[in-house]
């Protein structure tokens, strides 16, 4: 057969070269184009990589804690090593994963895309925030790994000021630095949402993800400086014997707790609110339905942001605070359940009678609802003075806040990662593996943490390496659950990275979702949109379903 015949039989069609501007990942490929980028999408990716790295470290520490608690007598690790591991777990997870997780990765990537802007308001500040994050995180990491810190993530006085012999001082400096990084990002987001919206993008046309990130940024702005100054006072105490939090010299450790929780309670909502924003996007896209009660969800985000500052005292009911203050904080703490419940009901109502596709992101979202409801309701137990007297400083509290933080933040983080992965990378991942991981996360999480509610109710105190032998069975169950959870975290890392190279190419809108970010190409071009968008549609304008039987 002659070559020309062959060509006739199998014609080789040259690939069509379309004159299209390269996307943000391929615009420039040098290392310096990543490390000196001011493109919000690339900064989002930088954050995604670094935050995932710190999440793995924190998770390894958690694994070691669960390993140690397999036996009641603490014979696996020394008490000192155990203390250092749970401090490492707390510090890394709270400040270097949970707080920046969704805002700094998906917020950076999506806010300008969702509001139709070319970039955030202060692109250079945005890059600086990442550098500060890295400096603070690596510095803190070196401190907690080389020297070890044994105070727990709360740095409670007077132990942290005068008694601990570990590397508290440098760790405090690291946490102060990370605070500046959060503030920079939050200033950026607030100003961006206020001033950079595309023509026609009114406040009530914004996706609910933007509303919740806006509320989150407000909390960061108003709470973080108080943490900064509290830790500065703590640094002064440790370095110069300032003693303001030391009862032996006339100081007051409760004052430290007031100031610490003025930040750290709202910080819980810094972790949860972005997850709530993700929920609104996932639920509408996979129920293919308008969100139920848009304004209620938007306002409840703002209400949570405001109310979160009125409830910090419920961490201090049994710490020597006056009774009238306890009563005030207890009552105020109940109020914040209202906006949280409003959101959950609205999402459930959105899924109800929608054209539901049970894809990976929605599975994560449904897991989110399940875990958040348990975490939220047990929060009401803890807000009641009498029940808190029984279960405070037990594993009941540990289980409660893990249902909120891991349940609500990590589930949402993974859901968001799966939902926007095609937009960020231009590739589709394996749906089957995605569903398996979503199920495993939910099951593994409940097996790990539900026994801890029972343990706490039975009276097992938190923070110790040893416990009464009668608690061993439930502790072993909990540790076994942690291994399932570990698998659920490892799977996505493998198949997502695999999809980068071998995944199917995603079109601009693989989920058939609404929102400006789905109108541009995947991955988006460097300036986000080929032509500046003009918004003349409502958010979540999914087609109303045809009448049944019609």
């Amino acid at each position: 057969m002659s070559p020309s015949d062959l060509a006739l039989r199998d014609p080789v069609v040259p690939e069509a070269t379309i004159a299209r501007q390269p996307d943000y990942l391929h615009a420039k490929q040098t290392l310096s184009s990543w490390f000196f980028t001011t493109d919000h999408k690339r900064i989002g990716i930088l954050y995604l990589v670094s935050i995932t790295f710190f999440f793995i470290l924190g998770a390894i520490a958690a694994g070691l804690i669960r390993l140690s608690l397999l036996v009641p007598n603490g014979s696996i690790f020394s008490n000192d090593f155990y203390d250092k591991m749970f401090t490492l777990h707390g510090v890394i997870m709270v400040w270097f994963f949970l707080i920046p997780s969704i805002p700094n990765t998906f917020g950076n990537f999506l806010i300008p895309l969702m509001i139709g802007a070319k970039d955030v308001a202060f692109p250079r500040l945005n890059l600086m925030s990442w550098y500060l994050y890295m400096v603070a995180a690596l510095f803190t990491l070196i401190c907690v790994v080389l020297g070890g810190v044994d105070t727990g993530w709360t740095f409670y006085t007077p132990y942290s000021t005068f008694y601990s012999n570990s590397w508290v001082l440098p760790a405090l400096i690291g946490v102060v630095l990370i605070g500046f990084s959060s503030i920079m990002t939050a200033v950026n987001f607030v100003v961006t949402v206020h001033t950079m919206r595309a023509p026609g993008m009114t406040w009530f046309r914004m996706p609910l993800f933007i509303w919740s990130l806006y509320a989150t940024s407000l909390i960061i702005l108003l709470a973080t400086p108080v943490l900064t100054i509290t830790l500065v006072l703590l640094i002064a105490s440790r370095a110069f014997g300032f003693a303001v939090f030391d009862p032996a010299n006339g100081g007051d450790p409760v004052l430290y707790q007031h100031m610490f929780w003025f930040y750290s309670h709202p910080a819980v909502y810094i972790m949860v609110l972005p997850g709530m924003g993700v929920m609104s996007e996932l639920v509408t896209a996979f129920a293919s339905k308008r969100v139920f009660g848009y304004r209620f969800i938007a306002y409840s985000s703002m209400a949570i942001a405001a109310l979160s500052f009125f409830v910090w005292g419920h961490h201090m009911f049994y710490n020597g605070m006056s009774e009238s203050a306890s009563l005030t904080f207890s009552i105020l703490s109940f109020t914040i359940a209202v906006p949280s419940a409003v959101k959950v009901y609205n999402w459930t109502a959105t899924i109800h009678k929608g054209e539901v596709r049970l894809d990976t992101p929605l599975l994560y979202a449904m897991g989110w609802i399940g875990l958040f409801v348990v975490g939220g309701l047990t929060g009401l137990f803890l807000a009641s003075l009498a029940i808190d007297g029984h279960v405070h400083d037990t594993y009941f509290v540990v289980a409660h806040f893990h249902y909120i933080m891991v349940g609500a933040t990590v589930e949402a983080f993974l859901g968001a990662l799966h939902f926007w992965w095609p937009k960020m990378t231009g590739r589709l991942y394996s749906e089957a593996w995605g569903r398996v991981s979503a199920f495993l996360t939910f099951i593994g999480f409940n097996v790990t943490f539900f026994p801890q509610f029972i343990l706490g109710y039975l009276g097992m105190p938190r923070r110790y390496n040893t416990y009464d032998p009668q608690f061993q069975v439930l502790n072993v169950v909990s540790s076994a659950g942690a291994t399932i959870l570990a698998a659920a975290y490892i799977f996505p890392m493998i198949y997502l990275i695999y999809s980068l190279f071998y995944g199917e190419r995603a079109g601009p809108n693989p989920w058939d979702a609404r929102g400006l970010e789905w109108t541009t190409t995947s991955p988006p071009p460097p300036h986000n949109f080929e032509t500046p968008p003009i918004v003349d549609f409502d958010p979540y304008d999914y087609p109303s379903r045809a009448p049944e039987g019609g």
Binding site: A117, K118, D119, V120, A121, F122, P123, I183, V187, V190, V191, H194, T195, M196, L221, L222, A223, T224, P225, V226, T228, I229, T230, V232, L233, A236, F240, G241, F242, A243, V244, N249, G250, G251, D252, L255, M259
Partner: protein, 218 residues
Amino acid sequence: MAEHAATVGVEVEEQFFSAEQQRHVATLGMWVFLATELLLFSGMFLVALVLRVLHPASVTAVALHLKFWIGATNAAVLIVSSFTMSLAIEASKAGLRRAMLRFLVATAALGVLFLCLKAYEYYRDWAEHMMPFLPGRPYVLDGDPASRLFTNLYFIITGLHGLHLTVGICLVLGMAFFGRRAGFLSRHQNRVEVLGLYWHFIDLIWLIVFPTLYLLNR
């Protein structure tokens, strides 16, 4: 000789649609940042208040040892510096570059005067044994352990304010340095206004620090 007014405006960066938007962004950004600064300082004011509630006698004893007149003079110095800063902003709005430079330098000079007075005050504190954090050096109110708390707080508050002022002076001098070039006002006029906000805020904080530490506890 009267200076000719230069054109005034801002150069639009690529992420913005218009100069007006860019101005709004810069000013709003500074206000948002100042809100965080306010909460930073108020954490320390809260500690001062709580100390006053817990140990009123010790706090008064310390306040009577503070150098009331230096603190008061410094408040006046900062009020005048705010005035020169306002004039620098007005000059920049009017396109009078050289007048703006003069007022910026005057503002920085007043800031330096504040720091010099502050340094002298610290020296007097040292001489009068009012530095309880120095190991080995006797402390004048040694019989009153709770007084150490307020004395130390005084150094932390004034130190942090001094740090902010030092940053402010550097920024003002930097602005004066870059403002020498002709055409500065046509490209970056709003930077002077934004810097001015920060400067007024430092002044405002001192006007709270002065009563909190020196005045109300006497």
